[in-house]
C-alpha cells in the first residue's frame, strides 16, 4: 500500500487543513465585516497567509518520494466508509502551492479593478479557492466529490454577477455542463465502491465499505470493469479539462466571465489532475487499452484549438482556444503513459498555471485601459508601454515553449513521451507547436509591434505598481522553472515513477492483497503502489 507520512510527524500540526480552509475562514470574516476597505485588507492578508502557509509544503517536501505527505485522517461517516482523509504527493503538491499563489495574485489584481459588491466578490473567490484546494488534497472519493461539486456555486456567482456581456448564458452553461460530467463521474465512483465491497467481502478484508483512495487502489478489477469506470470518470474530467468535444463552454465563459474566473479556469487544471490522480491509477489497464483514442482526442484538441485560435479577432477567445490547444498537449503527455509523458504533462499543468494565468492577467491589463479586447483595436502598444510589451512577450514565449522558459521544459518532455508511445503522436504534436507559435506571434505583431494605428492607444500608461506585482512573480517563475527545473522535477518524480510502474504492470487481476490478509490495513510498503511482479 502507498506509504503515508502523517502531518503530525512531518510538521507537527494540521498544515494542510489550515491551508485548505483558511480562504473559507477569510470569506466568513469578510461577510461579517461590512466595510469594503477592511474587506480588501482581510482579503489580501488571508490570501498572502495562505500562500505563505503553502510554502512549507514545497520546501519541506521529501524529494523523489511516492509517499503521500502531510497526511491527515479522521473518520467521518464510518458506516459508509467515508473519512476526512487528505494529503499531498508529487502529483498534487505543486498544484496546492500554485493555487494559493494565484489566489494571492488575483486579489492583488482585483483590488485595482473590482469596485462593485467587493465583499461578495472576495467571498466567492475565497470559497472557490477552498473548494479547489480541497479537490487537490482529498484522498477520499466522497470528500473529493464534495469539493468538486461545491466549486459550482461560487463559480456560478463569479461569472454571473461580476462578468461582462453574455454572462447569463455562460454561467448557466458552465454549471450545467460541469454538473452533467460530475454526476456521471459519481456513477464511476459508485462502481469503484461496489467493486471494493465485493472484493473485500470475498477476501475478508476490513473495511468492506470504503471510498478511500488508498483502499480502492488495492482493489484489483477486471479489464471490462476498469473500462466502465474509466468511461464514467472520464466524463467528469473531460468536461472540466476541457477535452474536445466537451469544450464548448470554455470560450463562452472565458469571454463573459471576469478575469479572475478566466485565470482560475485556464490556470488551474482540475480536469487533467483528475485523470492523473484517479483515472490512471484506478483503471491502469483500461488506460492502456484506450490509449489510442485518448491520444487522438489530445491531438484533436491541439490542432483544433490552434486552428480556431488563429482565426480569432478577440484576444480572450484567442486565449480560450489556445488554452484548449495547450490542454491537448497535457492530455497527449499524460495519456502516452510513458514516464516523460506523465512527467511532462504534470509540469506543463503547472506551467500553464503560470503562463496562461499570466496571459489572462495581461488581457485584463489591456481591458482596463481600453475596455475592449478586439485585437484590431490595438497596435503599436510597445511604443508607449515598453514594460507591458516586454513582460507580455516573455509570457508568450513561455506559452510557445521557447527554450529558457518553463514552457520548453514541459513541451519537450511531453513530445518526447508522446514519441515514445508512438512516433506519429509526436510528429503531429510538433505540428501543434508551430501553429501555437503562429497565432500568438501574429497577435503580438498586430497588437504590440508596429506603428500606433489607433489614437486611443497613444498615451496609455505602462504597468503600474500593482500590475508589476502580479507580473513579476510569474515571470520569475517562468525563468526559474525554465532554467533550473530540477527542484520541481525532483518533487514530482517519485509519484510519476510509481504511477508509471503501476500503469505498466501486465495485469492487475492477481495483484493486490493475498486471500487471508484478514483484519487491519496492511503495514506500509515503501515507495511504489504495490510489490513489483
Amino acid at each position: 500500500m502507498m506509504q503515508e507520512t502523517f502531518a503530525a510527524q512531518q510538521i507537527g500540526f494540521s498544515l494542510l487543513t489550515l491551508v485548505t480552509f483558511l480562504p473559507l475562514a477569510g470569506a466568513v470574516l469578510i461577510w461579517a465585516i461590512r466595510d469594503t476597505g477592511w474587506a480588501w485588507r482581510i482579503g489580501l492578508g488571508v490570501a498572502a497567509a495562505d500562500f505563505l502557509l503553502s510554502l512549507p509544503l514545497f520546501f519541506m517536501f521529501t524529494l523523489d518520494s511516492a509517499a503521500m505527505q502531510f497526511v491527515e485522517r479522521y473518520p467521518w461517516i464510518p458506516s459508509l466508509g467515508i473519512s476526512y482523509h487528505i494529503g499531498v504527493d508529487g502529483i498534487s503538491m505543486l498544484f496546492v502551492v500554485l493555487t494559493s499563489m494565484l489566489g494571492l495574485l488575483i486579489v492583488v489584481y482585483s483590488q485595482g479593478v473590482v469596485t462593485e459588491r467587493v465583499r461578495g466578490y472576495l467571498m466567492a473567490l475565497f470559497a472557490l479557492q477552498t473548494t479547489m484546494l480541497g479537490v487537490f488534497v482529498s484522498l477520499d472519493l466522497v470528500l473529493f466529490f464534495l469539493f468538486w461539486e461545491l466549486m459550482l456555486i461560487p463559480s456560478y456567482f463569479m461569472i454571473r454577477l461580476w462578468g461582462g456581456e453574455g454572462r447569463e448564458y455562460a454561467s448557466i452553461k458552465y454549471v450545467l455542463y460541469t454538473l452533467l460530467g460530475s454526476v456521471l463521474m459519481l456513477v464511476g465512483i459508485v462502481i469503484l465502491y461496489l467493486q471494493h465491497y465485493h472484493f473485500a467481502s470475498a477476501h475478508n478484508i476490513s473495511p468492506a465499505l470504503s471510498f478511500d483512495l488508498m483502499d480502492l487502489l488495492r482493489t484489483p478489477m477486471a479489464l471490462n470493469v476498469q473500462i466502465v469506470v474509466f468511461v464514467f470518470l472520464f466524463f467528469g474530467f473531460a468536461f472540466k479539462t476541457p477535452l474536445v468535444p466537451f469544450h464548448t463552454w470554455m470560450p463562452d465563459v472565458l469571454l463573459a466571465g471576469p478575469i479572475a474566473m478566466s485565470v482560475i479556469l485556464a490556470g488551474i487544471k482540475l480536469g487533467t489532475f483528475g485523470f492523473v490522480r484517479f483515472s490512471l491509477p484506478l483503471a491502469p489497464d483500461a488506460s492502456r487499452e484506450l490509449l489510442p483514442i485518448l491520444m487522438v482526442l489530445g491531438l484533436i484538441g491541439i490542432l483544433y484549438g490552434a486552428y480556431i485560435a488563429l482565426m480569432q479577432a478577440d484576444l480572450r477567445k484567442l486565449l480560450a482556444y489556445s488554452s484548449i490547444s495547450h490542454l491537448g498537449y497535457v492530455a497527449l503527455g499524460i495519456f502516452a503513459l510513458t514516464y516523460q509523458g506523465i512527467q511532462g504533462g504534470l509540469i506543463q499543468m503547472i506551467n500553464l498555471g503560470i503562463t496562461t494565468a499570466g496571459l489572462f492577467f495581461f488581457a485584463g491589463f489591456l481591458w482596463n485601459r481600453r475596455q475592449t479586447l478586439t485585437i484590431a483595436e490595438f497596435g503599436g502598444l510597445a511604443k508607449g508601454m515598453p514594460l507591458l510589451a516586454t513582460f507580455f512577450l516573455i509570457i508568450i514565449f513561455s506559452s510557445i515553449g521557447l527554450p529558457g522558459t518553463n514552457g520548453f521544459i514541459g513541451e519537450f518532455l511531453i513530445l518526447f513521451g508522446a514519441f515514445k508511445a508512438h512516433w506519429v503522436y509526436g510528429a503531429v504534436g510538433v505540428l501543434g507547436v508551430i501553429l501555437g507559435a503562429a497565432y500568438l506571434l501574429w497577435f503580438y505583431e498586430q497588437a504590440v509591434f508596429g506603428k500606433v494605428t489607433k489614437p486611443a492607444n497613444e498615451g496609455l500608461r505602462d504597468l503600474g505598481a500593482r500590475e508589476l506585482a502580479v507580473a513579476l512573480p510569474l515571470v520569475a517563475l517562468i525563468f526559474w522553472i525554465g532554467v533550473y527545473p530540477s527542484p520541481f522535477l525532483h518533487r514530482i518524480n517519485g509519484s510519476v515513477e510509481a504511477l508509471h510502474a503501476r500503469l505498466n504492470r501486465t495485469s492487475t487481476m492477481a495483484a493486490g492483497l493475498q486471500p487471508g490478509a484478514a483484519g487491519a490495513i496492511a503495514p506500509p510498503v515503501p515507495a511504489a503502489y504495490e510489490e513489483p511482479r
Binding site: V142, E168, L176, L179, L180
Partner: protein, 527 residues
C-alpha cells in the same frame, strides 16, 4: 416513563392543540398562534428526542403502546416505531413547526387554519406510528380530508385562472382539463377525490389481507409471516392493490396529476406538509404494509417499481422545466424526486433502502424550504408567475441565499443530507438497475436546470418597479422556519451517522424477510 408514552405525546400534542384552539376566540390572534406554536413545538422536541433515544443496536419496534379498541374486530390502538418510521416522524414534526411560522401572517380565520393544519400533521404522524392496519388506514384518510378545506378556503388561484375573463367557460366542466388554469376549489376537489380513491383501493387490499389470514386481527406484527397462506394470485392481487393504492399519494406516475395542481393552490405551510410528509405516506405505507406483510411478492414485483420510477423522474423533471408558476415548478420537482425513493425501494438492498428512507427525510426539508420561500414571495407579491417577477435578489438577499441552499439540497449537492441519501440510493441500485441509475443521475442535471431557471427568473435580472415595496425575510418569525430546515439539511449532511444507524436497524428485518428464501442477498453489512 416519558419513553412509555413518547409516541402518544408526539402524535397527540398537535391534536390537543387543535382541540384547545376550538375553545379560543378567533379574534385573539396572538393566543391562537402561540397555542399552535407550543403544541407543535412539543411534538418537534419529542421527535428530536426520539431520534437519539431510539436504540438502533436493538432495532425492531420500540416505544410500543397498545390499547385494545375492538376485541370483536381485532382492532387495537397500537403505536410503535422502527428505524424507518423515526425519520419520517421527525420530518413531520419539523415541517409542522416550521409551517406554523410560515403561516404566521394569515389573519383570515387563522384559528380554523391552524386547527386543520394541526389535525393534518397529527394524522400523518399517526400513519407513521401505527402498527395496527385499521388505525393506519384511519390516520391515512384523516390526513387527506383536512387538505380539502385548507386548499379550498386558504389556497390561491393560478394566474391563468385569474386571467380568464369568461367566468362561465372557465368554471365549466370542459375546463377541468386546462391544467394550468385552475381555481383553488378545483385543486382541492381533485386532490381529495384522487387521494380518497387511492386510499380506498389500498383499503381493499387491507381488507383482503384481514379476511385471508383468518386471524381476525389488524395487528401488523401478528399478521406478519402469513404470506404463504394466500394463493400466488391473491398475493399478487393484494400487493398490487396496496401498491397502486398507496403509490397514488407518492405520487407515482401515472397517478400523479393531482399533485402539482394541489401544490400550486395550497398555502405555503400546507404545501410544505404535502410535499414533505403527505407524499411520503405512500412510500412508507408500501414498505410498512406491502414489504412487511408480503415480502416474497415484493421481490417478485420490485421490477415494476423500477420501471415506473423512471417515468416519475424524467416526466416530472421535464415538465417542471416548462412551468411558469413557482409552485408548479417545485411541485413537479417533488414528484420527480419521489422517483428516486422508489428506485431505492426497488433495488431491495440495505444501502439502497437506507438511502431511500434517508432521502425521504432529506427531501422533506429541501422541499419544505423551497415551498416556504415560494410562499413568502407570493405573500409579498401576490403572484406566483415567474416571468412577472425578477431581480428580487437585490431586495431579498436572505431569501435568495436560502434559495441557493434549497437548490443545493434539491440537486443533492454534497454537504446536504440529500447527497448522502442519493449516494446511497445510487450505490445500492447500480448493480440491479444500472439503466435506472444512469437515468437518475441525468435527472439531477435536469433538476438543476429548472431550479436554476426559477432562481434566475426570480432573483436575478431586472426588477419591475412595482416590486420595490417588497421586503426581505428579516423578522425572526420569517427566518426561523428557513433556518431550521437549512440547519437540518446541512447538519445532517455533514453528520448523518445517527440517521444511518437508526434507519438501517429498521430496514434490516424487512430485507431479511424479503431475501430469506435462500436467494442471494445483495449488498448488506451497513450500519
Amino acid at each position: 416513563m416519558l419513553d412509555q408514552h413518547l409516541l402518544s405525546i408526539i402524535l397527540f400534542a398537535p391534536f390537543v392543540g387543535a382541540i384547545v384552539l376550538i375553545f379560543v376566540s378567533g379574534e385573539r390572534l396572538t393566543l391562537v398562534r402561540t397555542i399552535a406554536a407550543v403544541s407543535s413545538f412539543v411534538s418537534f422536541a419529542a421527535s428530536a428526542y426520539l431520534l437519539y433515544a431510539f436504540d438502533y443496536g436493538r432495532g425492531g419496534f420500540q416505544f410500543l403502546e397498545q390499547y385494545e379498541w375492538s376485541k370483536d374486530l381485532g382492532i387495537s390502538f397500537f403505536l410503535g416505531v422502527d428505524g424507518v418510521a423515526v425519520p419520517l416522524v421527525l420530518a413531520s414534526s419539523v415541517l409542522l413547526f416550521a409551517g406554523i411560522f410560515v403561516s404566521w401572517r394569515i389573519v383570515d380565520r387563522a384559528r380554523e387554519f391552524y386547527i386543520f393544519l394541526l389535525i393534518l400533521a397529527s394524522a400523518t404522524i399517526g400513519v407513521y406510528v401505527s402498527l395496527d392496519l385499521f388505525f393506519l388506514y384511519f390516520f391515512y384518510e384523516m390526513s387527506v380530508l383536512p387538505m380539502y378545506p385548507l386548499l379550498g378556503v386558504w389556497g390561491s388561484h393560478t394566474k391563468g385562472y385569474l386571467e380568464m375573463k369568461d367566468t362561465a367557460k372557465r368554471d365549466s366542466l370542459a375546463f377541468i382539463f386546462n391544467f394550468a388554469s385552475n381555481s383553488k376549489e378545483y385543486a382541492a376537489m381533485k386532490l381529495t377525490l384522487f387521494l380518497s380513491a387511492g386510499a380506498v383501493v389500498a383499503l381493499l387490499g387491507i381488507l383482503l389481507t384481514y379476511v385471508g389470514t383468518g386471524l381476525h386481527t389488524f395487528n401488523l406484527l401478528e399478521l406478519q409471516g402469513h404470506e404463504q397462506q394466500f394463493t400466488p394470485f391473491l398475493r399478487s392481487a393484494i400487493w398490487l392493490l396496496l401498491f397502486f393504492g398507496f403509490a397514488s399519494i407518492a405520487p407515482l406516475w401515472p397517478m400523479h396529476s393531482w399533485s402539482p395542481v394541489g401544490h400550486a393552490a395550497a398555502p405555503a405551510a400546507v404545501s410544505m406538509l404535502h410535499a414533505g410528509v403527505l407524499m411520503k405516506l405512500g412510500h412508507f405505507s408500501i414498505i410498512r404494509v406491502g414489504y412487511w406483510l408480503f415480502p416474497q411478492t415484493t421481490k417478485e414485483w420490485a421490477f415494476l417499481i423500477a420501471i415506473l420510477c423512471v417515468f416519475s423522474i424524467i416526466y416530472g423533471g421535464l415538465v417542471a422545466f416548462f412551468q411558469r408558476d413557482t409552485k408548479y415548478v417545485i411541485g413537479y420537482s417533488s414528484s420527480s424526486h419521489m422517483g428516486y425513493i422508489f428506485l431505492g425501494m426497488a433495488a431491495l438492498n440495505m444501502i439502497s433502502m437506507t438511502g431511500a428512507v434517508l432521502y425521504m427525510f432529506a427531501h422533506a426539508l429541501a422541499t419544505g424550504m423551497l415551498f416556504a420561500m415560494a410562499g413568502f414571495v407570493y405573500d409579498q407579491t401576490h403572484t406566483r408567475d415567474i416571468p412577472s417577477l425578477g431581480g428580487l435578489g437585490r431586495i431579498m438577499p436572505f431569501i435568495m441565499g436560502a434559495f441557493v441552499i434549497g437548490v443545493m439540497a434539491s440537486v443533492g449537492l454534497p454537504g446536504t443530507v440529500n447527497f448522502i441519501g442519493e449516494l446511497m440510493i445510487l450505490s445500492g441500485s447500480w448493480e440491479q438497475y444500472p439503466v435506472q441509475t444512469v437515468i437518475a443521475v441525468v435527472g439531477i442535471v435536469i433538476t438543476l436546470a429548472y431550479l436554476m431557471r426559477m432562481f434566475m427568473g426570480l432573483f436575478l435580472g431586472e426588477m419591475d418597479p412595482k416590486w420595490a415595496h417588497v421586503r426581505d425575510a428579516s423578522p425572526i418569525i420569517d427566518r426561523l422556519p428557513l433556518l431550521i430546515m437549512i440547519f437540518g439539511s446541512l447538519y445532517f449532511g455533514l453528520f448523518p451517522t445517527q440517521f444511518i444507524h437508526v434507519i438501517s436497524s429498521g430496514v434490516q428485518p424487512i430485507l431479511e424477510q424479503i431475501h430469506s428464501a435462500g436467494a442471494v442477498a445483495a449488498a448488506g453489512g451497513g450500519g
